[in-house]
């Protein structure tokens, strides 16, 4: 049932139309002669205010506006993986084939291809009772991923017909389900409104860490599958590189990467790199597990606002199949700004810094869609959605509303720091201001994996870093001279932790990914070095002499030693540490003094 009205007013992305009595809030409408996609955001009798997902230039009052009767939805089914979409799920590659290298207005292409067949294998039989979330059959979507065709929410009953093994398009009916009153035809293609979370049976606590191969994250500020993290930082601090590293290396089954209001070349970079890169867990192309949403900064602002919802709905869909999904949103500030821009055009009462008053609740609603869940279906299955949101605070000032409201809901903060970035200390995650509420919970996971002392080592090294920051304040005032030797050793060790552990080059072929095993061994060597150094200093050796040991350079170069070769390196360095300190203390007893300097 469609209703047609006429355009009454155009101001940027916001259009008002009259004659739309009967249209519903959040219905999708087609605006103007070009039939641009829009969504109703305010209703006032027969006047609807619409945010338009495309450039409105050239639209004039009097042009038609038609409702579709559907809320803004995404198409779900096989064919999502490996695809790049814009903010309202238009496949960018297909659009390019149709209209060329520039995105022109009024282009429509469905999210899933209709002309492609998928090999379907049924799981259920005729007469089986099924309910929402139950699996009807499977499709091999990519080399590594079995796409599980599920009974959509709201449908239950007996299977009346189920498709046999064969190739079907997403629009073909693969099952019919009869309940008391009606017959449901189930296709692989399903729709879900993006602003509404997909239902689950139960929320669970996260239990496993999301391992990223990034040392400062996994060891010091761990994230868990089903958890949430914020990554705020000024421009140039490396938010996008961290997000790309996570998208490449985290041990999730599916990655949804939302480039929200960011750079076009960054999306091009992902599209260039991912197909050639290998998923460290499965050994297959990274693109096979990735869905990209690219609504760059110069693309329409309303579609930017929708892009994070499109992304998280797709993430939830794979979670419902029982997968661990990780979603990166870069950057949530651009999403918030899109909200602000539209709110301004709607002439709503502004809240803090011009953001709408509902900013906090929208952010909270979004992050609440993350979690580890028992998904719908008659068998107990779990899936998870992890959300990592970049935040781009103006001037790098974390006291602004988007950062603050995000920190109220997320459990992990990776605070990026301009000073570290200026020194090219990457990832520029500040170890003093960052935190992870999951640190205590992942201990068991490490302990099971031959890392029994993980918690202790981690705390000891973090203690050194914290002590360093206090000592540096003193040094700034009076110089290093006045510090006692054990404090000077703290400075030496902290430097070593920074250079040999915290700094990790995303662009170095070896260092870009550091296995959990290697991280632990590196940490152990750092601790071993420090403990022996303390004993030596207690015995009268100077901190400078410790700092001058050749084995220290070796520790600083640990990042470049390949993961698989590291156990051997570990054995060698361990021996060298022992020898070096034996030499130091022997030297001391031979001469009785050590030089300072």
């Amino acid at each position: 049932m469609t209703i047609t009205g006429t355009v009454a007013r155009i101001s940027g992305a916001v259009v008002s139309a009259r004659g739309l009595a009967g249209a519903r809030m959040y219905d999708v409408v087609r605006v103007g002669n070009d039939r641009l996609v829009g969504e109703i955001v305010v209703l006032d009798r027969d006047v609807a205010t619409i945010q338009v997902y495309e450039d409105t230039e050239g639209i004039a009052p009097g042009e038609p506006v038609t409702t579709t009767g559907m809320p803004l939805s995404v198409e779900l089914g096989p064919g999502l993986l490996g695809t790049i979409y814009d903010g309202i799920q238009r496949p960018l590659e297909i659009i390019r084939d149709e209209t060329g290298d520039f995105i022109v207005r009024g282009v429509h292409a469905p999210g899933l291809r209709r002309d492609r067949g998928w090999d379907f294998t049924p799981i259920v039989r005729r007469g089986d009772r099924v309910g929402p979330g139950d699996r009807l059959g499977t499709v091999v979507e990519t080399e590594v991923h079995e796409h599980r065709v599920m009974v959509p929410p709201g449908v239950q009953g007996r299977i009346e017909e189920i498709a046999s093994v064969g190739r079907y398009s997403v629009e073909e009916v693969v099952a019919t389900v009869r309940d008391d009153t009606r017959l449901h035809r189930v296709r692989m293609l399903q729709y879900w409104p993006v602003r509404q979370p997909r239902p689950v049976r139960m929320r669970l606590e996260p239990i496993d860490p999301l391992i990223s191969g990034q040392r400062v994250i996994d060891t010091f500020f761990p994230l868990m599958k089903g958890g949430t993290a914020a990554l705020p930082g000024p421009f140039g601090a490396g938010k996008t590189v961290v997000q790309h590293q996570l998208a490449k290396y985290v041990n999730a089954d599916i990655i949804v990467y939302v480039g929200c209001g960011e750079r076009g070349n960054e999306m091009a970079d992902v599209l260039r790199q991912f197909p050639a890169l290998v998923d460290p867990t499965t050994g297959k192309s990274l693109m096979d597990r990735t869905v990209l949403i690219g609504n760059t900064s110069n693309m329409p602002v309303a579609a930017r606002e929708a892009s994070v919802y499109t992304g998280i709905t797709i993430a939830e869909y794979y979670r419902d199949m029982g997968y661990d999904v990780a979603l990166m949103a870069d950057s949530t500030s651009r999403w918030a700004e899109a909200m602000r821009e539209i709110s301004g055009r709607l002439e709503e009462m502004p809240g803090e810094q011009g953001y709408p008053a509902y900013l906090a609740s929208r952010l909270a609603d979004f992050y609440e869609r993350a979690g580890r869940m028992t998904v719908l279906g008659s068998t107990d299955r779990t899936g998870s959605v992890t959300v990592i949101g970049s935040v781009s605070p103006p001037g790098g000032d974390f006291s602004e509303p988007v950062t603050q409201n995000t920190l109220r809901v997320v459990k992990v903060l990776w605070a990026l720091d301009a000073d570290l970035a200026h020194e090219r200390h990457f990832p520029a995650i500040n170890w003093l201001t960052s935190y992870s509420a999951y640190a205590g919970r992942v201990q068991g996971w490490w302990a099971e994996r031959a890392a029994p002392m993980w918690e202790e080592y981690r705390a000891e090294m973090m203690g050194v870093l914290q002590a360093e920051s206090e000592l540096l304040e003193t040094v700034q005032l009076v110089g290093e001279d006045v510090l006692p030797e054990e404090d000077r050793l703290v400075l030496v060790q902290a430097r070593l932790i920074r250079d040999g552990f915290l700094i990790q080059s995303a662009f170095h072929p070896v260092d870009t990914y550091c296995t959990a095993e290697k991280q632990y061994l590196m940490l152990e060597l750092l601790v071993r070095f420090y403990r022996q150094a303390r004993e030596a200093v207690d015995a009268g050796v100077s901190a400078a002499a410790v700092g001058g040991l050749a084995v220290k350079s070796r520790l600083e170069r640990m990042p470049f030693v390949p993961n698989e070769a590291f156990p051997d390196e570990y054995a060698r360095v361990e021996r060298e540490i022992a020898e070096a300190f034996a030499g130091l203390t022997a030297g001391r007893s031979a001469y009785g003094v050590t030089t300072r300097g």
Binding site: A8, D101, F235, A268, S297, V301, P350, H422, Q476, R557
Partner: protein, 472 residues
């Protein structure tokens, strides 16, 4: 205002109205208008007969808010006539624009021959489909060590210069335009130069510079001077980039676009927002400034299967040298890095006065290394950064506690930072260093430090490049 029959909508193009009801700042409100399209171009004729161009900023069923590019001086509410053209804003593009000087709206001001356009293009342009973008990887040799060695510029990148009043950003931009080459290619860049609200002197500096070096033949120059209508500046970058896109993606030129001064552009944006009584964002700039700037900066790049490219160097003078000011802040979030000028270095007489620590090129990684510049480039850059940052930190410390309190190694770092600024950063304005010369100079400086300090460089590279005393 009462409608007279002549005020009413005429069918088709060229509807003309005498119903200006309100004039505020650069805006006029025209009532009784039917069906004015958002973004439609209007022609405003003031009582003296002078004609100006405007654009519809907001359209309602019976009124249109119009932004007038020539300014609203002498507009009245009685006899000013407004004609709606039925067109969105377009500019005629042709290869013959090369070598020409135009005003901020694209009208020739050099007295040259009439331009006959090959095509008319909408100035707002359409966004490049992200999947059509080719990731930029061809590094540009600008001949400037601070850029090539530390923040390599890549063809298709947008890399702004964050400067301040009185600093030599114009000289650096002109030097880049003059010297930039892609390795292994003889061809230089065509330049599209867009000046917004700059002084006669500064505009003249560029034009003279282009003329003297012969670059003008390969350049299109748009000049909106400080005394030209403020509001005109809002379309200058769009017009210039529309021409640049035509040259790059239709004709295959490699185009270097210099936009100066983006701060003036943003001020014009703020002026319009204030006249519309919009809710102001930070420091009075409108909340949509990020989107607006992105619409300019994102018009850089490369497209798969097309020959040409657009590389952008926007110049910003940062008010009060405050890098957190909204103009540099939003710019930095959109562009692929930034070159930041330092007043301190300028005072020390160092040209180019580039403060390397906050400077960054995001596309550097893809453009350097073996087969592109040299295998040691990335590691050398990281090591130089680490060492220079340490030297700078020590400089602050020494100011408080004196040099005597430093250890031997720290003194080396302190000396390193000084020599680095004097020998690496500083270079004559006409000197063109190759990538090899830049990297060799870097190794000479790094050899001030013992090998064991060079922890950012793999031992095999140190083996190959570290200058040994025994050899010298």
């Amino acid at each position: 205002m009462d409608e007279t029959p002549s005020d009413r909508k005429q069918q088709g193009k060229g509807r003309e109205y005498l119903s200006v009801t309100r004039v505020t700042g650069p805006l006029i409100v025209v009532s009784g208008v039917e069906g004015a399209a958002y973004g439609e171009v209007v022609e405003v004729t003031v009582p003296s007969g002078e004609r100006r161009t405007g654009r519809v900023l907001e359209s309602r069923e019976d009124t249109a808010i119009v932004q007038v590019f020539g300014g609203t001086e002498a507009v009245d509410t009685v006899s000013t006539s407004v004609r709606f053209t039925g067109e969105t804003m377009k500019i005629g593009v042709t290869e013959d624009l090369l070598g020409r000087i135009l005003d901020g709206t694209g009208e020739p001001i050099d007295g040259g021959p009439l331009l006959i356009p090959d095509a008319m293009r909408d100035i707002s342009g359409d966004p490049i489909n992200p999947s059509a973008r080719d990731f930029p990887r061809d590094s540009i040799e600008t001949g400037i060590s601070a850029i090539d060695g530390m923040n390599t510029l890549v063809r298709g990148q947008k890399l702004p210069i964050f400067s301040g009043s009185g600093l030599p950003h114009a000289r650096l931009a002109a030097q880049i335009a003059r010297q930039a080459r892609v390795r292994g290619e003889a061809e230089s860049f065509s330049v599209v130069f867009a000046a917004m609200g700059i002084t006669y002197e500064e505009a003249d500096f560029f034009i003279r510079n282009f003329r003297e070096t012969g670059a003008l033949e390969q350049a299109v120059v748009f000049v909106n001077r400080a005394d030209d209508p403020v509001i005109e500046r809002l379309i200058t970058p769009q017009v210039a980039l529309t021409v640049a896109e035509y040259l790059a993606f239709d004709l295959g030129y490699h185009v270097l676009v210099i936009l100066t001064d983006m701060t003036n552009y943003c001020e014009a944006l703020r002026e319009v927002a204030a006249a519309r009584e919009e809710v102001p964002g930070r420091r009075g700039y409108p909340g949509y400034m990020y989107t607006d700037l992105a619409g300019i900066y994102e018009r850089a790049g490369r497209i798969k299967g097309r020959e040409g490219s657009i590389t952008q160097i926007p110049i910003l003078t940062i008010p009060n040298d405050d890098i957190t000011h909204p103009v540099p802040d939003l710019t930095g979030y959109i562009t692929e890095g930034q070159i930041v000028f330092s007043r301190d270095l300028h005072r020390k007489g160092i040209y180019p006065p580039i403060d390397l620590l906050p400077s960054l090129s995001r596309l550097m990684q893809g453009g350097i290394g073996e087969g592109r510049t040299r295998e040691d480039h990335a590691a050398v850059k990281d090591q130089l950064y680490a060492a220079y940052a340490r030297g700078r930190r020590l400089r602050n410390l020494v100011a408080v506690v004196g040099e005597e309190s430093l250890g031997e190694i720290d003194r080396l770092y302190l000396a390193f930072a000084d020599r680095f600024e004097r020998e690496f950063l500083r270079q004559p304005e006409n000197e063109r260093r190759s990538f090899e010369e830049t990297l060799d100079a870097a190794w000479r400086l790094l050899s001030m430090l013992p090998e064991s300090e060079l922890v950012r460089i793999e031992p095999s590279l140190i083996e190959r490049y570290y200058p040994r005393r025994t050899e010298g």
